[in-house]
Symmetry: C2
Subunit: 377 residues, 2 copies
């Protein structure tokens, strides 16, 4: 099988990640619960992973790296923990439901009001819109780093400059970019960065987290056992404990730890270049096939995603044919990005997404090109 659904989850994990999970499953206690050797070993590897992530993302405080089950949880914690009644929030048409639904919920509850930076039919935003939507009560900009549907990257550093100028919080969904495109919270003026482990970071599912700039206050989301201050009625205030009730996924985090080492060794620029070469080869070939419509902006920075349709064919039917007749795994349908589909005009048809990873090959790309050519005929 040729797996080209890496924007949903990277199927292939480096062997060192698998080895680290196995090692943890054989030896790891419960971090922060007790001081026996197994518990301390778990605490050490978890803290070391915080340090690696902090350095990787330019977060000044390793203890402000909070682990979650995935980026959806990180976004829920961030978006339900920072706003106050009356706040206005700016976000974009490019967002995934993991951003949209937490925001809609607070809009419906009457806590916040929302404005959307529109996307054009190529999925692009106009950076002036971020500024023109600012109101006196605007508190934050919430923005994906790259669309999961088009692969278009938003220039977060540019958005960060606007956020800083108007003293707004910048909350970034890095689900599609962490591990693939460099992120520096300090340089980009990001206040809260939410990421997942199982995509570009090539770590196990069930891992992810958020990096919080020093001084940014987020209210607890889950509360419960913390291993410290057991007699308080409240979750302890210091990060990361404030946002990490319950036993962490230590086994998964051990895998994330190994994944971070792997990324350090290989270098994410090397990874991104290879992914982009595969993506470009595919894009250049399929864009000229009669009947094929490719979505997104290929003249600006992007991730290794090519999303397309063939004539008016239902995207699920195309994706199914790719799987059944060519053993090529893609994703079709709505991609949890409703406003993006509205911008692209693909609400009814959906779209077929090809997403490439470090572990794909040129031969796989060539097979995918042949398949699209045949299906389009």
């Amino acid at each position: 099988m040729i797996y080209l659904d890496n924007a949903a989850t990277t199927l292939h994990k480096p062997q060192c990640v698998i080895d680290a999970v196995v090692c943890a499953l054989n030896s790891m206690g419960n971090a922060s619960r007790g001081a026996n050797d197994c518990a301390l070993q778990a605490s050490r590897i978890i803290y070391d992973t915080r340090e690696k992530l902090a350095e990787f993302f330019g977060c000044s405080r390793p203890d402000h790296v909070v682990f979650t089950a995935n980026s959806t949880e990180a976004l829920n914690i961030a978006l339900s923990g920072v706003f106050h009644p009356g706040d206005h929030v700016i976000t974009t048409d490019c967002e995934h439901n993991s951003v949209l639904r937490p925001l809609y919920r607070q809009q419906e509850e009457g806590t916040i009001s929302l404005s959307f930076v529109p996307a054009d039919p190529m999925g692009r935003v106009n950076y002036n819109d971020f500024e023109s939507l600012i109101q006196p009560n605007t508190r934050a900009i919430v923005c994906t780093h790259a669309s999961n549907l088009t692969g278009n990257v938003i220039d977060v550093a540019r958005v960060g400059k606007i956020a800083r100028r108007y003293n707004l919080l910048l909350i970034v969904d890095a689900s599609q970019t962490a591990g693939v495109i460099p992120i520096d919270m300090e340089a980009m003026n990001i206040d809260i960065l939410c990421f997942t482990g199982h995509k570009g970071l090539m770590a196990p599912q069930g891992t992810g987290g958020m990096c919080i700039r020093e001084g940014v206050e987020i209210r607890p989301f889950k509360v419960g056992g913390s291993g410290v201050h057991s007699y308080d009625h409240h979750q302890p205030q210091p990060y990361p404990t404030r946002l990490e009730a319950g036993t962490l996924n230590g086994h998964g985090i051990a895998g994330l730890h190994a994944a971070m080492e792997y990324l350090e060794q290989v270098g994410i620029d090397t990874i991104h270049q290879k992914e982009m070469a595969l993506m470009t080869k595919f894009y250049e070939a399929v864009r000229t096939i009669p009947g094929v419509t490719v979505y997104g902006d290929f003249d600006s920075p992007r991730t290794a995603v090519v999303t397309l349709n063939i004539d008016q064919e239902d995207s699920a039917a195309v994706s199914d044919a790719l799987m059944e007749d060519y053993q090529i795994a893609t994703r079709a349908g709505a991609h949890c990005a409703p406003r993006m589909h509205q911008a692209l005009g693909t609400v009814e048809q959906g779209a077929v997404r090809f997403s490439f990873s470090w572990f794909n090959t040129e031969e796989e790309v060539e097979a995918a090109i042949r398949a699209i050519r045949e299906l389009a005929e």
Copy 2:
């Protein structure tokens, strides 16, 4: 090292669990995200795990089995998702902070009022208190199945009869019992059962969940990507999607799946008998050592936990000595169970907990007995 901290997390996982995680790390796509073979394989193993858990816990609907990162998350979802302003809730002194803190939070927010069934100095509850605390606005009883500190089991079936008679919800924290003591939601009248994977179920960290009786309504906690109904502003209503935003920990759940098969094969009665034999051997030996105080009720059903102190010695010092001088891993301190310590009179001293698992041996118990005897001298 002799690992006797299994109530915090079971260190030793069955080999089939490790193998299943490795297999998943090599082959698993993103469940419910697309229809390619890898995604479908993930969906199948996850649904099959729901079925196994539903059968194991006597939950009539596999689609009412919701996966979470741990029991703390399950309890947060349950306890923040069922109450309405003005509700009165009965809970017990035996609870862990994963129950207490979500309840305290809602008490402080003015949503609910709380009453506690007291525990006596042996950590026992009086079942009549559940009934005598009921008020006209009582909505639920929230109750642990077994204390993480004393190992005392609460007769949930008996509490369930009271809950049913007064039409109250019964929400049970099975963190210490799932996989060790039989649970039948139907027979015990449990409405919401919260469990973790990494303790008695011998599954990876980062797994856990809740089983919901048909007809019980819980509001969404996290919201976001669901893979279905992408154009709705709200999280989809059907369980389990209602409570499962974001990518599940498929790799961990694959391990949980294997763990459920292991438990089926070995039989949890067999496991419990062995654990209880180890625990009893330890208890009978240490209880007679001068200076040793053992906490809890050993004349009623219980888990394989023995918690003790030596004279007035600080529990952390004893636990450290066990680790350093005898390579025995235990847990000391407050155990996230503040009201239980108050009942036992161990707020200052804490207590040293020995918790036994299926993978411990008689020789390990004998070494632990020798260690306590020497430390007490």
